[in-house]
Symmetry: C2
Subunit: 327 residues, 2 copies
């Protein structure tokens, strides 16, 4: 991406009088940080901006973010002249108001800002997809730093929260010098690192701690000579601790961090089948292709898919295919 | 600290013909990263430098660091004209060769570089103590960036490893804009973030995973209405999993990260009594003073002490004092 592309994005955003911002379904820290950080920054420019989310905020995020619209009626669409999609790779994942079809959206002043290489939103107006950025918040921060816009402490906190989410607190391989420099700029502008870390990383509810410990004690499975760590999460365990998996983005890291593990895999039964989350610790063995072969998606090192198969069969087929990838 | 102090340190280091570098006992990632990063940087300047460590490297660190002297005979001391202590706050913690007394050391060309506010080494030659730096590696990186010295990829990896250790991967409150900018410079110079993270953070031996899960399942104790999370580590559990606590700098974070916890406390019996590790999550309630009142030390948010008391009594007195600190 050229600096011009970022400055062009800044100009278009600055010309957005009344924006409706949305992001992907089941939003994570980057989706929410992007949305609320952009809203704050646009408002600081004297522009109107609303964030729309189709569902409630995950608990952990409610400590950092608030103030979204949860419904937009068809007649209210006319209140907005700009529609902005953030951190969303494709139309099915887009958490837009139901009354607004992709077709209509593409006829509007529709701005698509993302960091997923395979972004296929095709706004028809303006797309800025920066796959070299570790997070959508990094893209937005760069836009506003390039253009000299004011980033308030509140916006800085939002953007830093997203950066830290998508880089696993600057531990994942997507962390670059640029990521850290932008994060430094956000700290200089008053981003509350401690608040973010306490909300997102040092704040496990006790039921989650109990759930994770029992899961690891009773469901951890090592295969391929210890190179695959997997766990099939029983519904009963979620019920026992009244635990919602949406609250636990980092669960799979408990498997990934085990010495010698190349692939970490989590399974659980969702409404459409067995949901599989995949992580690789070795660039020589990406998991993206496997996820896509099952109709899923993601990055090389982090991907997922849903298999319409019985539990045991889904587990067996994934572990078999992963084992076959290893030498 | 003024930039001059850092440049002066650079000049003195550059004039060190044959250095012996040492650090604190039971060295962590910052102690080792400082030592081996400085060695590499001095050698790159064409100077001689050795790292001395009185004990073996912890396993996790052996993946990143190697090549230390493990013994220095009295007659070998004359081989060195400069002695450099890194990341060490006081004489009793200094892991220097036995044949070298503090008194003799203070008569030599003795350079003391550290980031602990309460540093009391008093080298008699040159002390650079920078309490605003999150790690000793941050101090050294600043020294070499200020002076324009070449930081090789290997040295950059060492320094970044120390920074990431002492900031908990840039999650602790000591992380500043300067920390992140220096880390970015190190990434630009070829620091291998992924290697560091895989060695120090995403690389738990299976026995450690099992140990931690059982500890949390059977020894986690919540008191003061959930504001204190503590665990007394039974010797039997360490034996069961053949686990060495030295390998687990992050163990206490399992307690600290629980929602609502203000104080995290780990107890275990060492050779001199009950060793207590203390962490605070709230600046209003520092743990340093309590640790010091028992003859221990540390920072406001992370401190420790050893109590010459029976197990149950040590546990009781600490929990009582911590509870009394809370409103």
């Amino acid at each position: 991406m050229t600096p011009q592309a970022f400055r062009q994005a800044a100009e278009l955003l600055r010309a957005s009088q009344r924006s409706l911002i949305f992001t992907h379904l089941r939003p994570d820290g980057d989706a929410l940080g992007s949305s609320f950080g952009l809203q704050e920054t646009l408002r600081k420019m004297g522009l109107e901006a609303e964030v729309f989310l189709p569902g409630p905020l995950p608990n952990r995020h409610a400590k950092l973010f608030s103030g979204q619209l949860t419904a937009v009626a068809p007649e209210e669409l006319a209140n907005f002249n700009t529609f902005i999609a953030l951190d969303c790779a494709n139309p099915p994942r887009l958490g837009k108001p139901e009354c607004l079809s992709m077709e209509e959206l593409r006829k509007k002043r529709f701005i698509n800002i993302d960091h997923h290489r395979a972004n296929s939103l095709e706004s028809g107006f303006f797309d800025l997809v920066s796959p070299d950025s570790a997070s959508c918040c990094e893209v937005l921060t760069r836009i506003f730093l390039e253009s000299g816009a004011e980033i308030t402490p509140r916006a800085a906190t939002c953007f830093l929260a997203g950066m830290m989410t998508d880089t696993g607190c600057f531990r994942f391989a997507n962390t670059g010098g640029g990521t850290l420099r932008e994060a430094a700029e956000l700290l200089d502008r008053g981003a509350e690192l401690e608040k973010i870390v306490n909300a997102l990383f040092f704040s496990k509810p006790l039921n989650q701690v109990r759930f994770e410990n029992e899961l690891m004690n009773s469901c951890l499975r090592l295969s391929a000579g210890g190179r695959i760590a997997s766990a099939f999460i029983p519904r009963s365990l979620l019920d026992k601790y009244d635990f919602d998996l949406r609250e636990d983005e980092g669960l799979i890291d408990l498997l990934r961090e085990i010495d010698g593990v190349v692939f970490a895999v989590l399974f659980h039964r969702g409404p459409d089948g067995v949901k599989v989350s995949l992580r690789s610790k070795d660039h020589a063995f990406p998991v993206g292709p496997l996820a896509r072969s099952f109709g899923g998606g993601g990055h090389d090192m982090a991907a997922g898919a849903t298999l319409d198969l019985p539990d045991a069969e889904a587990e067996a087929v994934i572990l078999e295919k992963l084992t076959a990838l290893l030498p």
